[in-house]
Amino acid sequence: MQTKRFKDEVVELGLELAWSLWAELSVSGWTRRHSAAAIDLEPLILYTSWLGQFDRRLRDESVDWCISNPRFVSAIRLKNLLRRSSIDVSTSFADFSATVKSHARVPWPGNGTAWKLVPSGKSGMVDLARPALIQLDLRAICGVSARAEVLRLLISESNRGWTSSELAQLSAYGKANVTAALDTLVLANLVKEERLSNGFRFSLLSEPQLIALLGGRPAQFPVWSEILRIVEAFVRFATTKASARSDVRSVEVGGVLREIDRSINTLGLTASPRVATGTDLNYHFDAWVIQLMRQWAGVPDPAAGEVANGNEATYTINRLSVPPGAWMGIVSNPGEQPRALEMPEWAEIYIEHPRSDTIVSDDSVGAPRVAHEILRLAEKRAGRNLGDYWGSGDGRNQLVARAFAEERLWPMRPGQSITFGETFLRAWRRDRLERLAPTTAPSGNAR
């Protein structure tokens, strides 16, 4: 059976996510948590049309935005994404589309029943200076077209060589449209075309100029079409699958995991509940769902210490796309400017010529060393000295750091970032030491 808490939390996080993304688009009255994440408009519209059943104001305000800003919306993408959507989304979007069409002349797909709506007119002008709105910025420059979507994707991973099929899949435009867009972008010297053994690869040629023209790029380019598909599956599960039997619930969980398999793979996520089976799956699945949804909604978990309460130091770890899988961290101590996370030995080695980068390689000890460094800094703020990674703590430092890397860092995909609070890090380390206690004798002053 779904506990009320689980159901409420999943719905609430689903709504938080939608509101925050719409807030970036200038829908009023909600916290913006995605200023650094590129928004993808059409998947958001489709998702909101379905999620709006849980919050009429969200539904009406998003319609209001669409009525005020139809020129930014791609009817072709809506149509193509609808083909990949669930029946529930297709049905709800039909009514959403009908409602928008009753107030604005748009060639949108969907033929449902419009609901009565008096547009609130609260949707402000979109602020194209916001990095999160790079998609709309590109549309303002290139028009609502495959060209704009292709450029967005090329910018998202500018050092990667893309195939036209990959670009077509992720842009939700047809392959012919994408190929034509690539041809013109190559002609304009914005995109480089390279012939490799198995076909052509495309990458951005004039990135700095393009970024300058756009006024910056967001730090993250989440694949919202897949994320929102997963969130929809989670919310649907939490609100409809209400078996009182734990074994039946685990089978329903199995059904959800199958449903989102492709999206999970596309996002490069680890479906952590896979390790649990039978009725144990329920507990692991619920925890995983809440963790993922919090992460996507940008809502910290106070119980896990993943919150900066103003007096806490936070440590943001980025897993880089280039070099693939490498690590870079940001340390934010209260009242200080954020600074790059550095390995202690760098200070000695690079005295005369400081490193120009703060990247930690993704070799076998890269993530554990990053883990140790943030654990060390968190403990240091509480007056404890952990010592270094290699020699101190009777080997516990390495064991704990490796465990943290396995649990929290290695599952991250390139391009992902996560922020840990100092309280959480200390609590996590304490818990891990307790679990290690039978096999490892505690010593020193680091406990």
Partner: protein, 190 residues
């Protein structure tokens, strides 16, 4: 692999899920899972072989599982860490060529919510295992036969069915070849 202890749990979960979805199915199973249900062997099995589906009181050859059953079985597979095809219709052609005479009277029935499972009886399982063991590459079937510990009369009765079954299959294959070679009434002539 599905251990003896967990087979009931898996079928219970699947059956209860079907029931909650308002679905009911009746299946006839043979092979390792059937023997596990009879309590004849102790080893694990990798799948549950469905040889027929009961519809309106009649067992019909199961060439494929109905979509809702397949969907629920796949979800069960994910929940219990089984392979996607743990519930399959691999040996469905056994039904086409006929199970041992009187098999219906020997079926053992177990009900798991919306799923009713008919396990072929001891004599039929012996016959099917003996038939499978005639394939020299299937050593496990011989081991299963030894585990069942059939009596000599049981083995001889099973052997008669195996020979007749093999003959029916061989006759079918020959008829097919004759039809391919232009003998239109091959089935009747043979």
């Amino acid at each position: 692999m599905i251990a003896r202890d967990s087979l009931a749990a898996v079928l219970n979960a699947l059956g209860a899920t079907l029931a909650e979805r308002g679905l009911t199915y009746e299946i006839l199973v043979v092979g390792g899972s059937g023997l596990l249900l009879l309590g004849s062997i102790a080893r694990s099995t990798k799948d549950v072989d469905v040889v027929a589906i009961r519809h309106e009181g009649e067992f019909r050859e199961a060439s494929s599982l109905p979509e809702p059953l397949r969907d629920a079985a796949a979800a069960t597979a994910r929940a219990f860490g089984l392979s996607d095809d743990w519930l399959n219709t691999g040996p469905a052609d056994l039904m086409f060529f006929g199970l041992p005479e009187g098999y219906r009277d020997r079926l053992q029935v177990s009900t798991y919510g919306g799923l009713t499972v008919y396990a072929a009886g001891r004599l039929d399982q012996i016959a099917l295992k003996l038939y499978a063991a005639t394939d020299a590459t299937r050593l496990r079937d011989l081991d299963d036969l030894r585990a069942i510990n059939p009596s000599e009369p049981e083995l001889l009765e099973a052997a008669a069915w195996v020979i007749a079954h093999r003959l029916r299959r061989f006759r079918y294959d020959v008829a097919y070849l004759l039809r391919e070679l232009g003998v239109e009434d091959a089935d009747e002539t043979l």
